[in-house]
């Protein structure tokens, strides 16, 4: 009869949760995170950033007195669970905004968010999320309620390509430099593939056929050999985590002479630590300074970090800081919404358009100045380019350049 027991406890579990308590003056923010799934490598630090920021906001007066109720659900990168969580929050908790995570959940929720008028702040920076009204004929699906803090994958890659063109000239390279996209055949690495190749051609690169490496760690010597034989000078890495480490190690063994440039999730101290000797002048973009940097806004980030690490000693990755920025942009647009008709989904969306060159208060120097408009959701058009070196265990990360991209109309939405 334990089956009946199981059934009973199932029903009990479901009904209990439906009786969630609501505070007096509060709004609900859903938070989807991947802490145990395939993208947990960077999902965990980002989620910590969002969660600590939410906790800090509550501990310091909330949204002008309104408490943010929130729940973090580890959906392990599974779309059905992401949808179910979204629906649960929407129908039970009166959710006004959501902090999302990756490509999978963000794309699955685009139409729901548009229909339910619920702003989603994701950590998926796909270019096609930036065209809210479908102005670009290439845009298949306008995403009016999707926001993200950072340059889109395409724009970040364009920035890197721009840097590479300058680098090639500075080094006195002869002829056309060769550019190759390296990544899995998967929506996330593929997102900037076409856009970036197009711009690289425009800048005089000889674009090579893309090299496919798996999202999972493995032995990529064969791919490195083909990179070597094609004579690639600049390689854009579209993957993240273990796959990037394997690639760096394999190519180091093979002995390629290639300038790696990675997407924003493919470069951080943990990756360099694990990849080891192969990390030589590894170029990657960031949207925030690093933990050790001395900028005014870092004081607030360190306070926020104490929400889950009381000692304040734990060094946070730049993904964590991006999570904080994402949450603080949401916070300030909620403040505007509260003063202008109440915190609701449509008002939070409107609040995102109020300020130009907008930096959340207290995070000066941390978050880049952002401008969202009803036609253009490319909040950030700047890319900070950093260089990482391993140096026998002494990891050194230094800023190389800051590229500002023009907001070209034909780049909107892809």
């Amino acid at each position: 009869m334990y089956k009946t027991l199981l059934l009973g406890s199932t029903l009990a579990g479901i009904t209990l949760v439906s009786a969630g308590v609501q505070a007096e003056d509060s709004v609900f923010v859903g938070h989807l995170a991947d802490m145990s799934g395939p993208t947990a490598f960077v999902g965990k630090p980002y989620a910590d950033g969002v969660r600590d920021a939410l906790a800090y906001i509550n501990a310091n007066g909330g949204i002008d007195g309104t408490t943010l109720e929130y729940e973090t659900i580890d959906y392990a990168y599974k779309v059905p669970q992401a949808i179910a969580s979204y629906k649960k929050w929407l129908s039970r908790e009166n959710m006004v905004a959501m902090q999302g995570w990756g490509t999978a959940d963000t794309e699955a929720l685009i139409s729901f968010a548009a229909k339910d008028e619920l702003p989603i702040f994701s950590a998926s920076y796909s270019g096609h999320l930036t065209d809210p009204q479908g102005k670009n004929p290439n845009t298949k699906k306008p995403a009016p309620y999707n926001f993200f803090y950072g340059a889109s994958y395409s724009d970040a890659c364009r920035g890197l390509v721009q840097w590479a063109a300058e680098d090639w000239q500075a080094k006195g390279g002869q002829g056309k430099p060769k550019f190759t996209h390296i990544g899995a055949n998967h929506p996330f690495p593929n997102a900037p593939k076409e856009a970036c190749a197009e711009y690289a051609t425009e800048l005089g690169f000889d674009v090579q056929p893309p090299v496919v490496i798996s999202m999972k760690p493995g032995d990529f010597k064969a791919q490195c050999l083909s990179l070597k034989s094609s004579g690639t000078n600049y390689g854009y890495i579209g993957n993240l985590g273990g796959s990037v480490q394997s690639l760096i190690k394999s190519c180091d063994t093979v002995g390629t002479d290639i300038q790696f440039m990675s997407n924003i999730w493919g470069g951080d101290k943990l990756v360099f630590q694990a990849a080891g000797e192969g990390v030589k002048n590894y170029i990657f973009p960031t949207m925030t300074p690093f933990w050790g940097d001395d900028v005014p806004g870092m004081a607030l980030v360190r306070e926020i970090s104490k929400m889950s690490d009381a000692s304040g000693q734990e060094p946070r990755l730049h993904h964590y800081i991006r999570g904080v920025c994402s949450t603080y942009f949401m916070k300030e647009s909620m403040e505007w919404a509260k003063a202008n008709g109440g915190i609701t989904g449509p008002n939070v969306k409107k609040g995102m358009y109020v300020q130009q060159n907008w930096v959340p208060k207290g995070l000066e120097g941390v978050c880049l100045a952002a401008t969202w408009s009803p036609e253009d959701h490319r909040g950030i058009n700047q890319v900070n380019i950093y260089k990482g070196n391993y140096n026998g265990g002494d990891i050194k990360v230094e800023k190389v350049n800051q590229v500002t991209l023009e907001r070209r109309v034909d780049w909107l939405g892809y």
Binding site: M1, K3, T4, S9, T10, G13, I14, L16, V17, S18, G20, V21, M35, S36, D48, R51, E71, T72, I73, D74, A76, K78, V79, P80, Q81, I83, A84, S85, K87, K88, L90, S91, R92, T103, A104, E107, A108, I110, S111, F112, K115, S126, H128, K140, K141, N185, H186, P187, F188, N190, A191, K193, E194, S308, Y414
Partner: protein, 357 residues
Amino acid sequence: MSSLAMRPCGDFRTSYKADNTIFETSTIRLVTIMVIALACAAPLVLDGYFLTLFIQISYLGIAALGLNILVGFTGQISLGHGAFFGFGAFASAWLNTSFNIPVVFCIPLAGFLTMAVGMMFGMPAARIKGLYLAIATLAAQFIIQDFFGRAEWFSGGASGAMAAPVNLFGFEFDTDLSFYFIALFALVFMYIWGCNLMRSRDGRAFVAVRDHYLSAEIMGVKLNKYRLLSFGISSFYAGIGGALYAHYLGYVSAEGFTIFMSIQFLAMVIIGGLGSVKGTLMGVVFMVLLPEVLESMVGLMNYTPWGDIPMVTDGLAYIKEMAIGLVIILFLIFEPQGLAHRWGQIKNYWKCYPFAY
């Protein structure tokens, strides 16, 4: 016989017709009709969360029944079911946007397209079986998945494909509530069809192929035909499930139709009971609700004074992931014949009460 309210003690069937009924007793028929009627009225009391879970159960349930027809009834194996599910999703969206075919027709058409693809990848089944067939179908998984990423004209590549909501006589089924009825109709229709298939000549041929392929061949069952047909029907179900998924979400992305999804379908039919139509549904309900129930338990911890700290909730999140695996293992050990078998035992217990033997 079918007019009896209860099943008599012992099987006394005097005709093939009696042996073949869907509903063994009039009580079962009545209960089934009542459950469907109740399900129609359920949105009156259920909120969006339950509706979305039910819709999930429907589209996954339809696809899982397809896999059970292949694995449980015909004794073949497929590790590519998730990819077929995805193919149905993209095919329906593609038919709708490229040819302007109304969505209601796109869904079955996508089923037939997926059927064709499934039969193509099922062809090795004519020559190989067991583990070798598993690996051959694994190839289908990877080929189709890669196809989604590359075929811009079909799947939209990296940016995915848009799927319009179901539109019937000008009414758009674009909310949870309205789509619930589409899902319910599709679920009931496909399950009745599945039951009927198993009562037919073809269904019996499937079972014969599974039980002893040599004897089946000697009796005149064409092995290749039925193995291939089984792949076709299985993919058809997957395609219908996938198409429903696409038009529910309104957007299809190549993410998600991975080998894990295929394995999850296998887990559903194994937990539910191989070779049982109602077991399939039980397995799907179980697999969909298990993470939700565990999640809600993690959620409950937030209301306790000591549970609302990241360390505890994170720890529970990991336990949740492990618990899903643990429950599956426990099921395989203690209930290898699936939930359908356990259900039968519970029914027998009450039927014989208090004189169980």
